[in-house]
Amino acid sequence: MYAYQLESNPYPSSPTPTEKDARILGGKRHKEAKSAILECIKELNNKVGGRDSNDGDFRVITLVQDVGSGKTHLALHIKNLQSRHNTVCTFLDLSTISPKTMPSLYNGIIKGFENDFFVQLRTKLVEYIRDRAERGDNSAKKVLDYSFMNKLSGMTIRQKADDILSGKALVSAENLKQFLVQWFNYHESNLIRNIITNSFDAVTNLEELLGMMAAISKLTHRFLNKIILYEIDEFDGNQDSIEFVKGIINAHLPASILLLISTPSGYAEIQGKNPSVFDRLEKANYKIDLAGSNSQDELLEIVLEYIKHNDKKGKFTQKTQDELDEKIRVLYDEFPEFRSVRSIINILYHAMEKSAELDLEKIDETAIDETIRHTYPGLKIRGSIMSVPISDFISIRRTCGDESTGEQLKRAIANLANFAHEMGNIGKLEKQNHTLDVVYQDPYGSKIGIAVVVNENHTKNFEEISNISKSSALVDKLVILTNSNIPSSESITIVNVDKSKMVDLLYFNNKYTDHKIAASDNEKAQMLAKTVNII
């Protein structure tokens, strides 16, 4: 059993999404992008509904965003929805095609359709021929190989057509060719022949490729009353890709939408390589904006959506959501590595597996820690002197900024001074006074005073520091630890305590009070004491 009593791991594990993974779509911005694409589909469907399509019924959508931001996921999600939106979709990943020759690109487009699509189209085409045959078209009858003997034996044209559809009989290839040239153009004829005979010819040049694509679009609209969405992923500055896309745009495929997926760098490459194509992209009918797709809130929504979608038992309560939310926020803030949809989902996939292995009720700090150690073995907390484990870091970091942080830091500094004294680095500690948190003698007999001034309100910090500075006469050296950005003066040494130093101090304090400072920690703790001017 996985965390939150899930029966399976809700997160995908593949580095790039599969169609199955893409069934779930989370995140406000991704959902808005989805709506924009569906809006385009709806608009074109309305326009071409009830009439023949023409070359004015073509739309271009661009989707440009950084790697790992969920573009492919979105495209595959839309593909999954095709039946619900009167659309047929093919997905072509240009990075999987090399060399990008015309036959390989055409092959990629054909393979990108669902198998069911060609079955449906074949059925409609055979039914079309059947209808013509039933209306007395002899050439149609010849296509079905419907002979006088068939008629004599009592077989109807419909039964013959059904036999062809079920694979019990074959069409007459030669007669089909002759029949089609009467009613369809060259490419349409070829395509219908390919579909009915279940054998696709290779294309040899761009003109042929575009002709076949136009035929697919036209026939799909005519016989299935659907529009085609061509999704082309990984579009970049590759010359063959550019020529291919330019051809498609110029061909104005009827009743079709071309969704081009690229990255900003790919887009810039196109700009540099072919201004003409770039200009066409700039004038795309729809530009899908995934701005903020890697923002903290968006990632959180996406991540939680996976669990919510699979939470059949209702164990993923608001409280548990909030707890996971906090942990992910810390990961996002502290590690640039986890600021993309792909990377955070990867972490959660592994954390979920770990939760099953350790029989955890929820994804906790330990699961995340173990995951990161295994999947990102080189990852360390930036600037951490105490080598704080990620699990401790997450739990301490979550509470940093609480009202009690200042008091905790005061205790940490007092304990760090105690530690330094125990290690023989500093002399006798004196009794604290009401303004200074630690007073001690350094090895040369100078009296050192340390005060911790950490508040969220920086004006309050300035006031406190101003008050504490009046105590400087009591000591030879005054050190003030603060989270405000104040320069040191001649008489006061200011030590800036950023969040990573806070975590180090609080982590040290936890270990010190629990008597868990190991020999291997001594050097680190002394280093920490140096950074806060205790030593």
Partner: protein, 190 residues
């Protein structure tokens, strides 16, 4: 006459001058003048042995600080307090200076200036989808602000990192800010 008397007393430095000697020099009127100066605390008279000696105020304090142990210790204490007060004043002044400096920094705000320039460069260089190459913004800002490429990228990294919700970067390109070990050569406003 008064000035002459004061000058004579002052010239005797910390040893002081005998009252009798002053009388000899300045005559009987000297008594009135001395009384007047005593009232104004400009001079001090003290009996040493059988003779009365006269000092100016400053010389008298110096005389006491060198010859009177009680006065010496009291003076040291007073000086200590005075020194501490001066120190506190000094600290307060330096804190005030620091606060003023920070306020001035905030007013001058070079980072704010950079942001304005950066945003302008971003708007001018971006395509219809909003992305702009860092290299183009860098060229504009380095030229107008006369800053080095390194300086530009340091400030750009800080800006983007600090305002993560306002800017978005994308990998690729020949130059840019480094994140996750990758060159991120494109930026846009969110």
């Amino acid at each position: 006459m008064i000035e002459e008397v004061l000058e004579r007393i002052s010239s005797a430095s910390i040893n002081g001058i005998k009252k009798a000697e002053l009388k000899k020099t300045f005559g009987k009127n000297c008594d009135n003048i001395l009384q007047n100066l005593i009232e104004k605390e400009q001079i001090f008279v003290e009996k040493k042995g059988v003779a009365y000696f006269v000092w100016t105020r400053d010389n008298y304090i110096l005389h006491l600080s060198q010859n009177d142990p009680k006065f010496k210790s009291v003076l040291n204490m007073v000086m200590g307090v005075s020194h501490s007060v001066a120190k506190v004043k000094q600290h307060t002044n330096s804190l005030d200076e620091a606060v003023t400096m920070i306020s001035k920094q905030n007013l001058a705000n070079p980072e704010g200036d950079f942001k304005v320039e950066f945003d302008r460069g971003l708007t001018e260089s971006s395509t219809s989808i909003g992305w702009a190459p860092f290299s183009e913004i860098r060229k504009k800002i380095c030229e107008s602000k006369k800053i080095s490429t390194e300086n530009f990228y340091t400030m750009a990294t800080n800006l983007v990192e600090r305002q993560r919700e306002k800017y978005e970067v994308s990998s690729g390109g020949q130059e840019g800010i480094i994140m996750r070990g990758l060159v991120h050569g494109y930026v846009r406003n969110v």
